[in-house]
Structures are given as C-alpha cells and as structure tokens.
Amino acid sequence: MAFNTRKTDYFPYLLLIPATVVTLIVVAWPLVETIRLSFTDASLRPVENYVGFANYEKMFSRRFPEVIARTFYWMALSVIFKIVVGTLGAVLLNAAIPGKTLMRVLVMPPWIIPIPIGVFIWGWMYNGQFGMISGIGQSIGLLEGPFEFLAFKSSAFFSTIVTDVWIGTPLVTVYLLAAMQAISPDLHEAAWVDGASRFYRFRRITLPLIMPAIATMSLLSAIWTFNSFDIIWILTEGGPRNATTTMIIDTYKTAISRFKYGEGAARAVMIVIFLSLFSTFYFLMISRLSKKDKEV
C-alpha cells in the first residue's frame, strides 16, 4: 500500500494521542491508583499508611460474600429477563405486518433518555400512596391497602430489577432485530418452498443464525448490568436494610458516603477482577465468532 512505504510511520500514533491521553488520565491511571489505595488506610486525612491486606480481610469478614452473591443474583435475573423479553420483542417486530416501522421507533425511548429521569418515573409508579402499580393493585383487589414497593426487602429487590429490565430491553431488541434482518431471505424462501412451517423455520433457521448475537448481547448486557448504579441509587440507595446493595453501591457507600477510600478501593478492585473476567470472556468469544465467520 502506498501509504506505508516509509520505514516507521509515526503519523497514526500522533493521531491517537488525544484519545489515549484522556483515556490514560481518566481510566487507566485511576485503575492502577485504585489498586494501590486498596492497600492503604486512605481517608479524608492527608496521611495514608500501607496496611497490607487489612482492607480485604476486613471486607470479607463483614458479609461481603453476601453482597457478591446478591450482585450476581440481581444481575442474572435482570439479564435473563432482558434477553427473553428483548428476543420476543425482536421476533414480533420482525414480522412483516402493517405499522412495524412505527413500532420499531417506539421501542427505543427507555434507552435513549437519561437513566435517572426514567427512574424518577418508576419511582412514582412504585410509590404506595400515589403510584400507579399500588393503585391498580388495590382497584383489582390484589392489594388490600397502599403498598410501598421500595420499602420492603424483596419487593424493593424485584422493583429495581424490573426498572433495569425496562431500561435494558430496547437495546437487546433492536440489536437482535438487526441480526434477524441480516439473515438472507433466500434461506427462508428455500425452506418455505420445501413446505417448512413458520415455527420450524424460526427454530431451524432464525434461531441458530442469531445465536451469536444473543450470546454477545447477553455478555455485554451482563457487564452493563453488573455496573448498574443510577437505578438502585435513585430508587433505594441500596436499602431497605441493604436488600439492593450490589457491589457498585457498596463501593460507593463505603468510599464516597463514608470517606473510607482505602476500604472502598478494595471493593472496587473486586469489581475490576470480575469485570476483567467478563471482558476476557467477551473478547475471546468475539474473536472465536469472527474466526468461524472466515472459515465458512
């Protein structure tokens, strides 16, 4: 190629400087610094001492495993619902029916708007006295009196999940819809000529071909759900009695609300460990999928 005739070309590196500098300062350096801080007793005081693994020992002696388990439970439920609802939505929107274009447009708003604002609306819906869900529940006789969804442990836990599913579903839907539309119509036509029913064609053509997209989306969705902060913080701040305290919320409460930077950093390191596991898995999957693609 004409461009690369010279020996070492510094031009592309120069082009990458702005993006790299911002990323190093805002993301890479804080990551390293978090690891260092996790071994100190850093707090609001200006002095900080190295304390070895004390923060980690303290963390694990205090119900931290419970927080990890809760985080994974919350994430798993949320991702499963997002993928199931999103897939069903994509299948329905893929049908060649009048009005499909308009309906596809109507799917996106929960994902487009700022998360906190969507969550304010849900905050009202979960409200016991004024809220819609409690109100309808009373009208049809499901609830005997006003029910404050965010005030009880298990209802708060599931309420935050429902809101998270509401915000995450649109992206899953349009992503899978795009994958379905990339399937060549010839495949469906050939099967149709052979007399295959619609359901059979879905099971034997559509589903296997969108499986890679479902897998990719599940993993991405798991990572984002794991990182979810706004929804829980606005609805419950991790309460009631820690019922919705996930690892992210626990880290934030420890470090920012209680100014225990060292202990907070140890929690952040645990999050980073899990996230790097997910990311490694994700990149391995992507590269395997693209290799498979080339072989075909």
């Binding site: 461009f3 990323t23 708007i113 700022p114 619609r198 990182n227 902060f229 996230l275």
Partner: protein, 280 residues
C-alpha cells in the same frame, strides 16, 4: 406468499406487540397524565388514570417551585455539548488512524479503548475524587466534562472507524500521488467526505453524554448551580416531599431534547447502536 399470515397469527402478533409496547411506553404515558393532574387528585381510591380537572399548571408551577430548573437544563445541554466537542477532537483522528493505517499495537490499542466500555465510572471515582480535590477542581464544570469525555470516546471511535473504512482508499492514494502530506490529506480530502458520518457520531455522542451525566456530577459537584438536570432534580426532590406532578412535568421536559433528536435521526442512531450485530 411467504409472509402471509393467517388471521389468528395476526391477532397473536398484534396482541404480543401491544403487551410489549405497553411495558415500554406505559411509564411515559402515565407520567404525562400525572403531570396534568392536580396534586390532590393524585391520591384517590380506586386508582384513576385521569381526573376531571386536568391542567397544564404543573408545567408553569415547576419553574417557580424548582427555582434552578432552567439552569439545570442549560447545564445539561452545556455539559453534553462540551463533552461532544472534546470527544470529537479525540475520536476523529483516532478513528482515522484505526481505519486507515497498519501499525504495531493496532489491535491491542483498539481492544484497549473498547475495554473502557466495560468499566463503570463508580470503579474509578475514588482516585479521581482524590486528585480533583488536590487540584481544587471539584465543583466545576471541568470535573464533569473530562470524565464524561473518556466514556464517549470508545463507542465514537468504533462507529466512525466503520464509516471511514467504507471510503475508498483511492482518494487518499490520489492525493498522495499529487504530493499532499498525510495531515493535509486527512483534513482536506477525507474529513469533508466523512462529514455525514462525523455528524452521526456527534449526535450519538451528544445523546450518550446527555444520558450518562449522573454519577460524576453527583460525586464531583456539590454546587447546585452547576448541576445537570438529573442530579438537580434528584437532589431537589430528595430533600422534601415529592410534588409528583411537577417532578413528572420536569422529567418530561428534560427528555424532550433527546427524544426530538431521536425522532428525526432514529435510523442512524439505531444503525449505530446495532453496528456489532451485523457483519460487514
């Protein structure tokens, strides 16, 4: 015909879609009806979706009961615009480098940028908070703009890179043969052609920046006058009994800018979001 449905299939599909779209849209519709109802009529048993005395009063009242509301909205738009501009300054050259040049470390660097998408702001907040405290930049717009910029760069690079890869290489080669330098070629030949793609990335970046401004503003800023809309509303309504109809009215007005952008440009936005689903 292959796509012909029987009547009961039509019924099933529309029923399913009605259910699905109800889940997606019901919060917006009910938020709108709540914003139209006077506060005292909101508390009624049995529950009612509408009341007799619906008014747009909340949309007037909210400006006086949340004194800084207009300020929050301007802040939101200002912060997102600043993030978009700073972001583009980093995104455009980087995307061009990844789209056009072979250099060692290319794949690793690209993966590194994409990995930023997997980190949440909450993980980085402790060191950032400490360093901003030391530099004395807490409670400034700067404290919200710079971290926000880092998080729009990866997706921006990814989107713009796939757009630039579709521009034929012959253009650059022709410019090169004519004796143009690389920087000149990029600025004078490629960027003008790529302008539609850059616009799409700018809009996607703006929407993302508008949507993400919560945790950084919540943590790094405690000056109410600088708060973007989500944090402003959160803190205002956290402090006192919630006036639900006004909160809903303010929320709906706050999402209007992005909804409008989305309605006009939804084809591009959806194409950008789903870039990974379809192989090129």
């Amino acid at each position: 015909m292959i796509n012909k449905y029987r009547w009961y299939e039509f019924v099933l599909i529309y029923a399913g879609l009605a259910l699905f779209l109800t889940f997606i849209l019901a919060p917006f519709i009910t938020a709108f009806t709540v914003s139209l109802r006077p506060m005292q009529s909101l508390f009624s048993i049995p529950y009612r979706f509408l009341s007799d005395n619906m008014t747009f009063e909340a949309y007037w009242e909210m400006w006086s009961s949340v004194p800084l509301l207009a300020r929050y909205m301007i802040n939101s738009i200002f912060i997102s615009s600043a993030i978009t501009i700073c972001g583009l300054l980093a995104i455009v050259p980087a995307a061009y480098a990844f789209a056009r040049f072979e250099f060692s470390g290319r794949t690793g660097l690209l993966a590194g940028f994409l990995a930023v998408n997997m980190v949440s702001g909450a993980v980085l907040i402790i060191p950032l908070y400490k360093v901003m405290q030391q530099l004395g930049v807490l409670n400034t717009y700067f404290a919200m703009i710079v971290p926000g910029t880092a998080f729009v760069i990866p997706t921006g690079i990814w989107l713009l890179r796939s757009y630039l890869m579709k521009i034929p290489r012959e253009l650059e080669e022709a410019a090169w043969v004519d004796g143009a330098g690389k920087l000149y070629t990029m600025i004078r030949v490629i960027l003008p052609i790529a302008l539609p793609g850059i616009m799409v990335v700018a809009i996607a970046t703006f929407i993302a920046a508008y949507a993400q401004q919560f945790i950084f503003a919540l943590t790094f800023n405690s000056v109410n006058e600088f708060n973007p809309l989500p944090v402003g509303l959160f803190q205002f309504f956290g402090r006192q009994t919630v006036v639900w109809n006004e909160l809903m009215a303010a929320s709906l007005v706050g999402i209007l800018p992005v909804l409008l952008l989305y309605v006009f440009l939804q084809r591009y936005i959806v194409a950008g979001l789903t870039a990974g689903a379809v192989k090129e």
